[in-house]
């Protein structure tokens, strides 16, 4: 039997195909209501649906049965969560191959009590002259600012949210700029805590192949090259994880 590591035929479930709301029951437990629009997904109705709710190291999984048998929206109780914001991973799985291959998936879908949602990188639309995008560090958390002045036939919001070419070109640069700002300019190396800097370091440290920051020498300014290599590894891993080369080819290939 041949095992091929990087082959993946899975489809992406886009954010606009998922709607999640979080609420509290009368007994104080969290519950979520999740709707999935799979009409145009080209996934068979025999695919099995699994929803994983997670916050930090805590995860609760719901195996819902086959796609064709699930009546969306579904409502489920989260018995082990206490956070105001919960993240969701949605998996459509082929069980017929005996392996459990993913046919489609998405992760990081957030929902909060009262509609509260968190994003590590909020997007804001601004007048930026001839600049397409920039990161603004002057706010409480950094924002990805996008120029909003384009011809009316250019759907910039759609491009930012769903265009694979834009994502392949911009997101790695965004990650590199953020990590450089945090580690080398701010010298913030603390991964614990709730500050946005720690959240980004935590996000980067969980990427495959990225070593723990604790393995680096302290004081980034005195060990800049070690931190630059770490940032480079994180960005490389991010690109691999999200198949950005393939996204680029898909967007600009013939």
């Amino acid at each position: 039997m041949k095992r091929r590591m990087n082959f993946t035929g899975r489809k992406k479930i886009y954010r606009n195909q998922v709607e999640v709301h979080l609420d509290k029951t009368d007994s104080g437990e969290l519950q979520f209501i999740l709707d999935l629009n799979w009409d145009n997904m080209e996934v068979p109705s025999t695919a099995e649906v699994a929803i994983e709710a997670y916050v930090g190291s805590n995860v609760q999984r719901f195996d819902l049965g086959t796609l064709g048998s699930v009546e969306f929206p579904i409502t489920k109780t989260l018995s082990e969560f206490f956070s105001d914001v919960v993240y969701f991973r949605i998996k459509l799985i082929n069980r017929e191959d005996g392996l459990g291959k993913l046919l489609a998936s998405c992760s990081g879908v957030s929902a909060g009590i009262g509609g509260k949602r968190t994003s590590l990188l909020p997007v804001a639309y601004r007048d930026l002259g001839d600049l397409i995008w920039r990161i603004n560090f002057d706010r409480d958390v950094p924002h990805l600012e996008i120029n909003r002045q384009y011809r009316s036939d250019i759907p910039i919001a759609d491009i930012v949210q769903g265009n694979p070419g834009f994502q392949a070109l911009v997101f790695p640069a965004v990650l590199e700029e953020l990590l450089t700002h945090i580690l080398i300019i701010n010298e913030h190396t603390e991964i614990e805590g709730d500050e946005w800097q720690s959240q980004w370091l935590f996000f980067a440290s969980l990427l495959p192949g990225v070593k723990s920051l604790e393995e680096l020498p302290p004081r980034p300014m005195e060990n800049v090259s070690d931190y630059e290599v770490w940032i480079e590894d994180a960005v490389d891993s991010f690109c691999r994880r999200h198949d950005l080369k393939k996204s680029f080819e898909k967007a600009f290939g013939g």
Partner: protein, 254 residues
Amino acid sequence: MTDQVELRVMNGDGIRQFRELIDDLHSNPGMNVDLSWIYENRWSDSIESGVLVEKREFKQKLEAARYLMRTLYKVELVNKYFHQGLWAWLSAYYFDSVCPVDDRGERKPGKPYRHIPPADRYWRTIYRHLLAGPIRLYEMHGEAIKFLLRSDISKHGDFLEQLASRQEIAASKGILEAAGLLYWDQNTNKPKVGARSKDREPGTLRRYVDVLQQLMLTYDLYSMDGVAILRLLPQKEFGSWMPEDIRSQLKSED
């Protein structure tokens, strides 16, 4: 006669007092530790569960997990495995186990989160609590992951850190089982020599975690058992770490 007391939860003042004690120990590790105050209403509350906890000295995480799971099942607290006051109180009650006096007459408590679980928002370190972390894993997976808990209760340990810090990994019984098959030496009851290498050498635990994160893009590893996950690993890299019978079986399938 066994020494047992009614289970209590620390209140806010108790948690502050306990944190101060941990801070004091950092500057004066040889100081005398008096924790008799943890039974007083000023610092802790009764939860009227009727549950009694026995004074024991645990050496391994597994002993504590087995005993506390059995003892706490009757406790009705919302999110009891994440309850800050409960686990802070238990840490103080079992302080001689989780922060023992060493040969030099000193205690080294380490970071406060090893003894006091994070408040709601600081969820990233919750698995590092020396009692709540292992017990949560034991509660999820039972005896199947006992190898992970056969280590000194006063130390979090790198082996556990690599597997417990990532929720997709910690939540999957199969992934943990496979880690046990690959890296746990049944004869010595310790990780196999070289398994914990920090240099990401081929086939080591850190590489296993990296490869898993790639495989998760393609497969629903959560629903697989340990042997099924071993089947997905590249034989060339991981074959020599696998038990002989499984290695032979996989070779014959190739």
